[in-house]
Amino acid sequence: MVKQKHYLALGVVTLATLLLLSLPPRDTSRLKLAVGSWFLPLFGLAGTVQQLPGSAADEVLPRRELLRQLEALRRENEELHTKEMHAAALERENEQFRTLFGWQRQTQWKLKLASVVMRDPANWWRTVQIDLGSRDGIRENLAVLTTDGLVGRVSSVSYTHAQVVLISDPNCKVSALVENPAHDMGIISPGGPLENSFVELSYLSGNAALQAGQKVITSGLGGVFPKGIPIGQIVDARPVEFGLYTEARVKLLVNLGSLEQVWVLFP
C-alpha cells in the first residue's frame, strides 16, 4: 500500500508538471498572475517595513539639518525653474522650425512613477515587479526607465502589479544606436549572469567606428522603445566571427542591481 501511494504521488506530480508546461501562453500568464496574487497582502507589509527606518530617521532629524536641506532644495528649485524657462524657449523655437520645414510634431512622453517591490528569485532571469498594474493603465511592452536611462520593458501585467524584464535579461532585446558620425546600430544582449552594469552590443557592422565613451541610445526600431532613450556608453569593442561584425561592451547608465523607483513610459 505504501509503495502504491508513493508511485501515485510520483505519477500525479509528473502529470501536473507536464500539464502546466503544456499550457498555452495566455493560460500560463493567467495562472502566474493568480498564484502571484497570493503574495499581495505581503507586498503592503514589506513596503511598510521598508518605510519604517526612513520615517524613524525623519523623527530624529535635527532642525539645523532640515533647514540645510530646505535651503538646498530651494536653490535646486530655482535652478530647475531657470532651466525650465530655457527649455520652454527652446521648445518654442523648435516648434517654429518644425512648422517652417513641415516636420511632424514629436509626441510628448507621459510617465508614471512606480516602486520596485520584488526581484526575480531565480538567478537565471533578470526581472522585477513594480507596484503599477492594469488599473493604472499599464500594459505589456511599455518602456521602463529611470532619470539615468533605460531599464527594460513591461512583460506581464496583473491588476495591481506588473513584471518588468530588465535590459540585461535574455528576453529583452533592444535595438540600439551609437551616437557617432556613422550612427552604427546593433542589438543589446545580456552581459553575463554576474553583470548588473554591463551589456553587450551585438550585430554591429564589421567596420563600425567605435570608441570608448561614445553614447548608446535606443534606435526606435522594433516599435517597443521610443528613439533617444539613453542606454549607456561604449567601453570597448572587438571583431567577432572573423571580422564579419563587431561586438561592443556597454556600461549601463542605470545600476540594475539597486533599482528602487522607475518610470513607466506611455507612448
Partner: protein, 184 residues
C-alpha cells in the same frame, strides 16, 4: 501533528519564496540569491509523509515560478525529484546528525536548480547562463548547506512547542514492587 506539520512546511515555503524575492542583501553582496526550497524539501523528505512532500513540491514550485520569469511548473519536478530520492532512502539516513543535514542540504540545493535549468533548456527557454552561473550555483549549494540544519532546528522547536508531548513514564512498576508481608 501531521496536518499541523504539513501546514507549517507549506507556510515556511510560502515565506521563503517571498523572502527570496524581496530580500536583496545577499544578492547584492554575492551576485546570487540562495534558494531555501531544496533545504526545506530535505526536511520534509526526512520527517513528513509523501503527501506533504508532493504538496511542498507543487505549491513551492508554483509560488517560486509565479514570482520569477520561469514558465509555471518548471520548478515542481526538480524539487519533487530531490525530495523523492531522499524519501526513498530515509530509513538509511542518520537524520539527527547535523553533518548529514548539511550534506543533504548542499546536494539538494545543487541538484534542484541544475534540474530546473535543464527543464528550461528542454522546453526551449533561454535563461541567462555563463561562467558566472557556476559561482551562483556554488552560492546556492553553500546556502542550502547552511540552511538545512537551521530548518531542522526551527521545525524541531516548532514540533516541541506545538505538538503533544510524550507522556512521561512513572518510575513505579507494579511487576517490581516488593511485597512485604508479616507472614513468612
Amino acid at each position: 501533528m501531521n496536518l499541523l506539520q504539513t501546514i507549517l512546511i507549506l507556510a515556511a515555503a510560502f515565506f521563503a519564496v517571498f523572502g527570496e524575492a524581496t530580500l536583496g542583501g545577499l544578492r547584492q553582496w554575492l551576485s546570487a540569491q540562495v534558494d531555501l526550497l531544496p533545504a526545506l524539501m530535505v526536511y520534509a523528505a526526512l520527517n513528513a509523509d509523501i503527501l506533504t512532500l508532493s504538496l511542498l513540491a507543487v505549491c513551492g514550485g508554483l509560488w517560486f515560478d509565479a514570482l520569477s520569469a520561469n514558465p509555471p511548473g518548471v520548478s515542481i519536478l526538480p524539487l519533487f525529484a530531490v525530495g523523492y530520492a531522499i524519501w526513498l532512502q530515509r530509513e538509511l539516513i542518520l537524520r539527527e546528525l547535523p553533518f548529514a543535514q548539511v550534506v543533504l542540504g548542499a546536494v539538494a540545493s545543487a541538484i534542484a536548480p541544475a534540474l530546473s535549468v535543464l527543464v528550461l533548456l528542454t522546453i526551449g527557454q533561454q535563461p541567462l547562463l555563463g561562467w558566472g552561473s557556476l559561482w551562483q550555483w556554488l552560492v546556492m549549494t553553500a546556502g542550502g548547506a547552511v540552511a538545512a540544519p537551521i530548518i531542522f532546528v526551527l521545525f524541531d522547536w516548532c514540533k516541541h512547542a506545538l505538538g503533544y508531548q510524550p507522556r512521561s513514564e512513572p518510575s513505579f512498576r507494579p511487576d517490581r514492587e516488593i511485597q512485604r508481608d508479616r507472614k513468612i
